[in-house]
Structure formats: C-alpha cells, structure tokens
Amino acid sequence: MTITDDIESRSPPKHDDGAVIYRHRIATRVTHWTWAIALFFLLLSGLQIFNAHPTLYIGQQSGFEFDNSVLSMRALQAADGTVGGYTTVRGHTFDTTGVLGMSGPAGDPAYRGFPAWATLPSYQDLATGRVVHFFFAWFFSAAFLIWFVSSLISGHLRRDILPSMADIKTLPRSIADHLRFRFHHDGRYNGLQKLAYAGVLLVIFPLIIATGLTMSPGMNAAWPWLLDIFGGRQTARTIHFLCMAALVIFFVIHIVMVLAAGPLNEMRSIVTGWYRTDKQKNEEHSA
C-alpha cells in the first residue's frame, strides 16, 4: 500500500474484503482529536459562563428597562406558590423544571440555567469557567488554523470538503439512503457528508471563534467591524450560543453515524488513518 492523498488513494483489493485505503492525513487526525477534547471542555465551561446570566439578547446591550431578550432560563414562583424552572424562547415560556432554570434534588433545588451535571465545574464558579474556556479556546482556534492551512495546501478542502455540483445533484439520493441507513463505504464523502463537514468546519467553527472575539471589549477596540457584522455584542453572544447548539446536534448525529457505519473501522481510520472500504464493485461510487 502506498500513502497518497486523504481519500483519493486506492490500493489493490485483498481477497474478499474491500481495499484498505489511507483516508485521513495526520493533520486531519490530530486536529480532529484536539477539537474533540477542546469542544468537550468548551461546551461545559461555556454553559458555566452562560449560567452567570442565563439570558440572551439581540443588539448591543441587554434590556433591563426594555425587552430585547430572545431566550431566558429562570426559576419562577407559580400562582400556587410552587417554584419551578422556566425557559422563555422569544416570548413563549416552557416549564423546564428539573433541567433548565431549576434543577437538583427536590429537597435542595438549585436555581441555575443549566444543571450541575452540564457545567464545569459542577458548582457555580464563573471565574473557573472562564479559565477553562479560554484555555481550550486557544487550542480550538490553533487547531482550526492548522487544519485550514494544511487542508488548503493538500487539496483536502477542495477535494473532500467543499461539495461539488455533482454532490449537490446527488443530495436527494444521499438523503434517501441515509434515512434507510444505507451507507456506501467507498472511502469518499457523499454530498450530505461534505455539506455537514463544510457547514461545521467552514461556517460554524469560524463563526463561533469570531462571535467569541466579538464579546471581548478589548477586541471591540481592535476590530470594531466585528460588532457591525454581527449586529452588536449581545447578538454575537446569542449567535455564539446557537453555534454551540448546532455543534451539539452535529456531535449527536456524528456519533450515531459512526456507530451505524461500523465504529471499529471508523475509529481505526480517525486514529491510524487507514480505512477499509466495502467489498468489491466500488468503482461506481455515488459521489
């Protein structure tokens, strides 16, 4: 076997198994695991930071004497005197007792946005949440820069991530196949996969970094245009939160797909780079 490009390379098939190809370069694998670790800590410490003021707004400032909030998690006392956790999304209030707004044991409830099990540290500690968040933010951003530059140079970005016209045309079929849990393992990404990875890597990752910087008063002095493109510090905070939610959804789908596609082979490819394709007749692949 010879190592050539990420997903491009082929090697002669070995008896009845599919070919084993070199699928992920070292840069892809290292940045993948850097992101996996960093995003875990960024999420949990981010929810800790959010809990310090669990309300999101639109615009430059938080409305205290006017209402520009779009999401809020609070503990409220109902008419019968019982206290519960309530989440308000654009004016619609939902009872989220036990998870959002109020959580913890019945005898000792905690009035907090996200529950203790979802934050780092588990107790309320904004200072430590910020320490953890900013530490891993450096790793996350550095990995993004390394991945972007190396993928641009190697052609990985153009070849495997950016969807082509052909990918777009086969999207309906790709969606139908996924809904039936039919996966084609030729080692290439189908249109849906390309769209998902391009969305995460080229839209959400840069967006979450840029909106994070927009919340910094220091960066507002250096790059005031950040406030203009995102419509204000509080809107940037809201977008940052939405990017987080999108990444959580992506993570769940990603794990389900890895499990459905054969976790050992998938795991081997993202650890060692080597991936076993389907048995024969994979010349006419769907890409």
């Binding site: 949990l44 959010f50 310090a52 309300t55 707004y57 430059q60 400032q61 938080s62 409305g63 205290f64 004497e65 006017f66 203790a116 099990w117 979802a118 934050t119 780092l120 540290p121 588990s122 107790y123 500690d125 904004l126 200072a127 430590t128 910020r130 320490v131 953890v132 900013f134 530490f135 450096w138 849990f181 039919r182 996966f183 084609h184 919340m215 910094s216 008063p217 220091g218 960066m219 507002n220 002095a221 250096a222 005031p224 406030l227 510090r233 509080q234 905070r237 794990i255 389900v256 499990l259 459905a260 596609a261 054969g262 976790p263 389907d278 048995k279 007749k281 994979n282 006419e284 692949h285």
Partner: protein, 263 residues
Amino acid sequence: MTRFIINRRKFLTMAGVAASAIPLSGCDAFDSMLSGQSRVREFLASANGLTYRAHRALIGADTLVPEFAASEIRQGQRPNGSTDPTDTDYLALKDAAFANYWLTVGGLVEKPVSFSLDELRNMPARTQITRHDCVEGWSCIAKWTGVPLRQILDEAKVKPEARFVVFQCYDTMNLGLQGAVPYYESIDLIDARHPQTILAYGNNDKPLAVANGAPLRVRVERQLGYKMAKYIKGIELVSSLAPFGGGKGGFWEDLGYDWYGGI
C-alpha cells in the same frame, strides 16, 4: 456495491451505548482538579497571560472602543457588585454630599497630590457614551463624564519604575468567615494612560449615583466591569501588586478572576 444494513435492534443497542456516555460528562469529576489553587487550574490560567500578550500585540495602546449615539442610552446604568456601602467613613462622606472628599495620588510619583471633587470637576473633562460589559455576560450603554486618568498621572509625575495603578476603594465586600475585605483594583500603565480611561463623576448627564460608585469611579473601557473600581479613595503607583490584598491585583482577582479583563 454492498449495502450496510443495520437492523433496529443493533441500532438501538449502539444508540444506547452512546447515550450512556452522556451522564459521564457530569462534571463534578473535575471539580477537585479545578478548585482554588490547584496546579491544574494554575496551568490552565496561564493561558490568560497569552491572551493578555496577544491583546497587547494586536490592540494599539490608544485604540478606542466604539462610542455610541445618545439614542442608544435606553435605560439607567445597571448597578452591580456593591451598590450601597455602609462603611462608616464612606457614610460620613455621603452625609456631607461628598463636600469633604479628597482623592489622593501617591506611591511611585515625583509629587504626591490630592484633589477635591470640585477641583476634579474643574479640570478638562471627557464625555463618552460607551458600553459597559459585565463579566457575567450582560451589557449596558451609558454616558460617562470625568477626568482622563492620564492628566492626573501627569500632574503627579509617575516615576519610571512604576508599572501599575492601584485603586483603593471605600467599599468593603463581605467574605463570610474572612469578614469584610476592602475592594481594590489595578491596571497597567497602558490602560491607565488610555484616552478613554477616566475618573468618572458624571453618569447620563447627572452626578454619579451612589449605586454606580459616587463620588468617583474608574472607567477602563477596554476591559470588563469588575476592573472599573467604584467609590475610589486613592490611587497608588506601584511596581508590584504583591503587597495588596491576596497579591493578585484586585478583589475579584484574589477570588480567582483574571487580572486582565479585556476578554
């Protein structure tokens, strides 16, 4: 082409395995590692030094934060932290409508000086409409009027060995068993000499309210709210922050917050 067909049972089993990993994120597992002065926490906090240096390299010393139109002032300045100090010397000042107030400037200066409130009000002033960003995440736009700190420093003639400006305050914060601890804060000379760094005595065209730090508070517009000490008693130019409080450069810093609040 062979198709990978997964049956429902297999799928549910695997989904169950994946879902069972979620509660593992229960983060009390990391609590002891991150508490107080643990080595891990100190290591993670070292990234703050990187952030500070990156900002200093990226942001020009005199680069201003955006200022806003008067129409953006849609509410009063939301007070936070201590909002009504009950310390005796402060109450005495407040009862006399701050007529006996003096701001002292000392430490590593050629000429220790002090100013009455009237003297400060008669100095060349700067008015700016800026956004106050709280470390908690909220923001509030307000108009601030005061004396540029740079002018005060120039009058006192800062010695070359001075590196930080320390603000001593009238308010004390109750820390339970440790009792009342006086609020203090510090910034470096780059932020101290920044054109938008002012000692504010006016807010939204009125004298500064007690809840917002009367009679005098600091505005350090490129940093978060906790860096902007209220109820200032005195300013001290120093070469090291070690002798003050817990040695971390401020009341909140001694409790674990970063000294550089630019992010």
